[in-house]
C-alpha cells in the first residue's frame, strides 16, 4: 500500500528555474519607520554574487514596517562606526541605520559584522558577527534580516522561510505542465520539486518543515503524497477510489487530515501516519473539505456547505462537537490560523460578490477584508503572523499576492510565464 518512490521519473530535484518572482509594493502606509541599509563593505578579490545589504533592505521594506532610504540619497557610505556622522542621517530623516563589513574567513566562508544604530539617540542598538557560505549569500541576508526585524519590532523575523507553490503552463490544446516549486519567502531561488502533465495541488508543510504533503494526479487519479525535502524521497500515502485531497498536518507531525469520498461523499478523515489507522471525522451529506489543525492540536477546522453555502466549522476532538465559526458572507472557505490561534484567514465572498482574503479575529468575531480584487484564494500565513500570501489574478494570469495581516501593505509577485497558485508558507526552519 505504501509505496516509496525514490526519485521517480516525474521527480526532478534541484532544478533551478529562471522564472523568478518579482515583488512590487502596490500600497504603502504612512507609519513606516525610515531606515537606511548602507551597502556592506567587501574586501575580497572577486565581487560577491549577491548585494547582501540590498536583500536585507528589500526584506524589511516588504513587511510594511519600514521605508528604506534610497542609496542615491545617502550622504555617505560608512562601513565602520568611526565613519558614522549621525547628523547626516538625521538630515535625511532616517530613524535607524545599518552598516556592515564582509570579509573572507577561508574556504567558502564569509563573515559579516554589522551594527544597527538608533539615529536620534546616537546609540548602538545591536551589533553582531554572522558567517555563512559565499555561495548562499541570500541565506546570510535573510538571517541578518531576521535579527534586525526582531530587534526593531520585537517580532521574530520570517525571512529565512520558504514558499511552496504550484505553477501551471499551457503547452497547447489539452497539454499542460504542472510544477510543484519551492522558493525563498520572496520568490527567489525557485526550484522544482515535482513536474507533471497532470494537476498538482494543495501543498502543505509539516509543522517542523521537513516534509510536504500534496495531491498529484500523476497516476491519472488523485492521490496524496508525502515528500521528504532533505532527501527528495516520497511516498504515496492515500489513494482510494474517488477524492483524495486537501492534506493537512497535525502539529505533532504524526497525523494527516484529508478529504476522501470513498464512502460516497466528500468527508474529512484523519490518518495516523505510523499506525495507518484512518478515522472519519465528519459525517454529513454536504461537502466537507479543506481541514486544517488548530496549532494546539485540540481541534480541526474545515469548510462545509452543510448550512447551504460554504462556511468554516470547527471540530473539537474531545467533545466531537462541531460548531460553525464564520457567519458573514455567503462563501467562507480555505481557512488558515495564525500560530497563536487568534486570527482566521480565509477566502471570503460577501455582498460585493468578489472572492477576497479576509481575516476574522476569533476573540471578538470582527471580520476585516484585506484584499481588493475579484478572485483571491489560497491564503497562507507567515509563521510570525505578519503577512498573508495568497493566489490572485493579474489580467487573466494567476500570480501570488501578499498582504500584511492588518491589510496596510500589499504587493504582487508576478512570474514571467504560466499561472502561479496555491502558495504554502513554511514554518520557521531553524
Amino acid at each position: 500500500m505504501v509505496r516509496a518512490i525514490v526519485c521517480a521519473f516525474v521527480l526532478t530535484m534541484s532544478t533551478w528555474v529562471s522564472a523568478q518572482l518579482v515583488v512590487e509594493v502596490t500600497q504603502g502606509v504612512d507609519s513606516q519607520s525610515p531606515i537606511a541599509i548602507v551597502p556592506f563593505e567587501w574586501r575580497g578579490d572577486q565581487a560577491l554574487d549577491e548585494d547582501v545589504a540590498r536583500v536585507v533592505e528589500q526584506n524589511l521594506e516588504r513587511t510594511g514596517f519600514f521605508k528604506a532610504l534610497a542609496r542615491e540619497n545617502m550622504l555617505s557610505f560608512p562601513t565602520a562606526q568611526s565613519q558614522v556622522f549621525f547628523r547626516d542621517w538625521r538630515m535625511s530623516s532616517t530613524d535607524y541605520l545599518v552598516i556592515g563589513r564582509m570579509e573572507s574567513v577561508g574556504g567558502d566562508q564569509v563573515r559579516l559584522t554589522f551594527e544597527l544604530y538608533d539615529v536620534l539617540k546616537e546609540q548602538t542598538i545591536h551589533s553582531q558577527q554572522v558567517s555563512g557560505s559565499r555561495t548562499n549569500l541570500r541565506d546570510l541576508a535573510h538571517y541578518v534580516s531576521d535579527i534586525l526585524f526582531e530587534q526593531l519590532t520585537g517580532i521574530k523575523g520570517a525571512f529565512s522561510t520558504r514558499l511552496a507553490y504550484v505553477t501551471a503552463e499551457s503547452l497547447g490544446p489539452d497539454r499542460q505542465r504542472f510544477r510543484l516549486q519551492m522558493s525563498d519567502w520572496d520568490g527567489m531561488r525557485p526550484r522544482t520539486l515535482l513536474e507533471s502533465s497532470e494537476p498538482i495541488l494543495s501543498p502543505a508543510w509539516s509543522f517542523d518543515g521537513s516534509r510536504l504533503a500534496y495531491v498529484s494526479f500523476e497516476t491519472s487519479r488523485p492521490a496524496i503524497y508525502v515528500q521528504h525535502l532533505a532527501t527528495g524521497q516520497r511516498e504515496q500515502v492515500q489513494s482510494f477510489p474517488g477524492l483524495n485531497g486537501a492534506p493537512a498536518w497535525s502539529p505533532d507531525g504524526n497525523q494527516l487530515a484529508m478529504v476522501l469520498s470513498k464512502d460516497g461523499n466528500p468527508e474529512v478523515y484523519v490518518l495516523n501516519l505510523s499506525s495507518r489507522h484512518l478515522e472519519r471525522i465528519t459525517n454529513n451529506s454536504a461537502i466537507d473539505t479543506e481541514p486544517f489543525w488548530a496549532p494546539d492540536g485540540r481541534s480541526l477546522y474545515f469548510t462545509s456547505d452543510r448550512g447551504g453555502s460554504p462556511q468554516i466549522y470547527k471540530y473539537n476532538f474531545n467533545t466531537r462537537a462541531v460548531e460553525r465559526v464564520t457567519f458573514e458572507g455567503n462563501y467562507n472557505a480555505a481557512g488558515r490560523l495564525t500560530q497563536d490561534g487568534r486570527f482566521l484567514a480565509m477566502v471570503h465572498r460577501g455582498s460585493s460578490r468578489r472572492f477576497q482574503i479576509a481575516v476574522q479575529d476569533l476573540q471578538n468575531g470582527r471580520l476585516d477584508i484585506l484584499t481588493n480584487s475579484d478572485y483571491d484564494e489560497s491564503p497562507s500565513i507567515a509563521p510570525n503572523g505578519t503577512i498573508i500570501i495568497y493566489a490572485t489574478q493579474q489580467g487573466s494570469r494567476g500570480v501570488l499576492g501578499a498582504v500584511s495581516i492588518d491589510g496596510r501593505v500589499r504587493f504582487n509577485m508576478p512570474v514571467p510565464q504560466g499561472d502561479v497558485r496555491e502558495p504554502a508558507w513554511s514554518p520557521f526552519l531553524r
Binding site: 501551471a168 478529504v259 461523499n265 459525517n283 473539505t289 462556511q311 489560497s378 489574478q393
Partner: protein
C-alpha cells in the same frame, strides 16, 4: 456593533444548528434522495421510450451528448440531460463489458479543494442517474478535476457555464 454581530451570529447559529440537525438526520438518504429526484425526473422523461431492442448498439449512443452542465455551486443534473443519460445507461446495461469514466469539473471561482469536492459530487450525480437507469456501478468510474482543467478560459459567465460540467467518456465499448 459587537452586540448586533453577536445576536446575528447567535441567530444564524440557531438556524444552522437546525439545518445541521436536519442534514445529519438525512445523512444516509441524501445521496439516495438526490438519486431518486434524478430518477423521478428521468422516469418522467424516459418512460415513454419503452422499446426493448433498441439502445444496445454503439450507433444508439455514438451521437448522444457526452457533456452535461450544472448551475453555480450546484450538483443537480439538469433535466435537459436526462434523455441522453438514460440512453447511455441503456447501452451500458445491455453491454456489460462497456464502461465509462465520468469526469466532474467546476468553474474557477471559489477555492480549489472545495471545487474538487463539487466536481466529485457532480460526477456522482451523473453516476447515480446512470445506475437508476440500469447501468451497473462497476461499469462507472468517477473522477473530479475540480477547476484544474477548464474547458474554456475567461472570467465571465460564458466561460464559467461551460466549465461547470461532467464529461462522460467511454473507456470500453
Amino acid at each position: 456593533m459587537r452586540s448586533t454581530n453577536l445576536s446575528k451570529a447567535l441567530a444564524l447559529a440557531a438556524v444552522m444548528a437546525f439545518a445541521a440537525g436536519c442534514g445529519s438526520k438525512s445523512t444516509k438518504t441524501d445521496s439516495g434522495a438526490m438519486g431518486s429526484d434524478a430518477a423521478g425526473g428521468a422516469a418522467a422523461y424516459g418512460s415513454g421510450t419503452g422499446s426493448d431492442v433498441s439502445g444496445g448498439s454503439w450507433a444508439d449512443v455514438a451521437n448522444l451528448r457526452t457533456v452535461f452542465y450544472f448551475d453555480f455551486d450546484r450538483s443537480v443534473v439538469r433535466q435537459d440531460g436526462f434523455s441522453d443519460l438514460e440512453a447511455h445507461a441503456r447501452y451500458l446495461s445491455r453491454n456489460p463489458s462497456a464502461s465509462v469514466r465520468l469526469e466532474g469539473h467546476a468553474d474557477e471561482r471559489g477555492t480549489r479543494e472545495y471545487n474538487m469536492a463539487l466536481g466529485e459530487r457532480r460526477a456522482q450525480a451523473v453516476e447515480r442517474l446512470l445506475i437508476v437507469n440500469g447501468a451497473n456501478a462497476r461499469q462507472i468510474e468517477t473522477i473530479s478535476y475540480g477547476e484544474e482543467r477548464p474547458a474554456v478560459s475567461g472570467n465571465h459567465e460564458g466561460a464559467w457555464s461551460q466549465n461547470r460540467r461532467v464529461e462522460l467518456k467511454y473507456v470500453s465499448r
